[in-house]
Symmetry: C2
């Protein structure tokens, strides 16, 4: 088996999707919000790109979440904030989440054999579940505005570390090896490091520092969101 | 000042070239060959893409170097091998070097304010010289066949470490931060790590292990090759 890392949303090729397990990683904050929602009572998450799409899907049992320029969208129920979502009573509801790169990554990779959502919060469960398919794996970092995001790369690095504990004979691409080394170098001060990334700094400016600390927690959940017919559903890893 | 890292030859944008110092990094082996040639008596290096271009530029005082699939090109004087070139008597000669990614990177970045060639062998001299222009810097990793190469990324990481020793207030892009951490994690076993990269493994198969050990030496030269009118000339850093 082989693990490849794709550094930004634009760069994935079809040969990295077809017959592969693809893990979409968008640590700040789409992946972390999705994992948190499914870990706190939501039955499913529906990712959409635009505010109009979100509004058109609104039902009595749905909650709308999203942000533009880090601010909550007017008439939406909450921001794309995992700490805000974790505090709500969500049993039986569906989360309609507007994200840009997260949704685009899911659309681009929809022909994968399995399409999973990962971040620090579920890193070990996620890679363990990905390996169970016995297919090559693509760790697909969403990044921000066409640029590589350090936090996504570090989560990919952590998943490679955990994968190699489970399989001794994994092939890893050069970028994966670099990110594994980055994670090992920075693992002791992950929360601090996430505050210093490009997206981290922007979130701090908008008073979402608690979200960053929350998203830096490793293996807080043992659930793996997976995409099925444009919905994201939870899979529990034992 | 800001340092950005471009991970592969295709991905550079004009705003990362214009009014920037660009450092082309192709550790295995074009950059290392160029530094070694200029450190061992060659007056200049002329990079070309094709065998035909190299042959058409041949003169009495020129040496032709290059490889295809790791083998010396018929009628050429030597392989693209820094250890082979270091052993020759080269005073007063010009090296005509066929490279694919190295030459393409130089062509793509020719409108930079300054265009330098860097690798482990001259990393500190190179970044010191780059900083002296007081412009933003792009570390342009050539990679291999459109893919990121770990050895280029680690050399970029080392240059960022050295740059931050000289300037406390440098901005560094997220990929640069990741590669700095990778370098710090792997610095103690650089030679060993270079044997494990995708290009490293291919060179070992073709019995160029000594080239890899040679290219992993940090700061062996204090000269910085720079591009001027399609030739590469040496600049000595004091």
């Amino acid at each position: 088996m082989r693990i490849e890392v794709v550094p930004t949303v634009e760069e994935i090729r079809f040969d990295q999707i077809s017959n592969h397990v693809v893990v979409v990683i968008d640590v700040l904050r789409a992946s972390s919000t999705i994992v948190t929602a499914l870990g706190n009572g939501f039955l499913s998450v529906i990712p959409v790109e635009t505010i109009g799409q979100a509004n058109s899907l609104r039902t009595a049992d749905s909650v709308l979440a999203g942000e533009r320029y880090c601010r909550k969208i007017p008439d939406f129920d909450c921001n794309n904030s995992p700490t805000e979502i974790a505090q709500k009573k969500n049993n039986g509801n569906h989360l309609i989440l507007t994200t840009t790169n997260g949704t685009r990554a899911i659309q681009k990779a929809e022909r994968a054999s399995a399409l999973l959502i990962g971040c620090f919060l579920n890193a070990t469960a996620c890679i363990k579940h990905a390996l169970a398919f016995h297919l090559d794996i693509t760790l697909y970092c969403a990044g921000t505005r066409s640029e590589f995001s350090l936090e996504d790369g570090l989560a990919a690095g952590l998943m490679i570390v955990e994968a190699q504990k489970l399989h001794t004979n994994l092939q890893v691409c050069d970028l994966g090896e670099a990110l594994k080394a980055s994670f090992l170098q920075l693992a002791e001060k992950l929360g601090e490091q996430l505050l210093q990334t490009t997206t981290g700094k922007r979130l701090v400016q908008h008073h979402f520092t608690s979200d960053i600390h929350y998203c830096a927690q490793v293996d807080h959940y043992n659930l793996v969101p997976f995409v099925k017919e444009k919905r994201i559903l939870p899979h529990l890893v034992s």
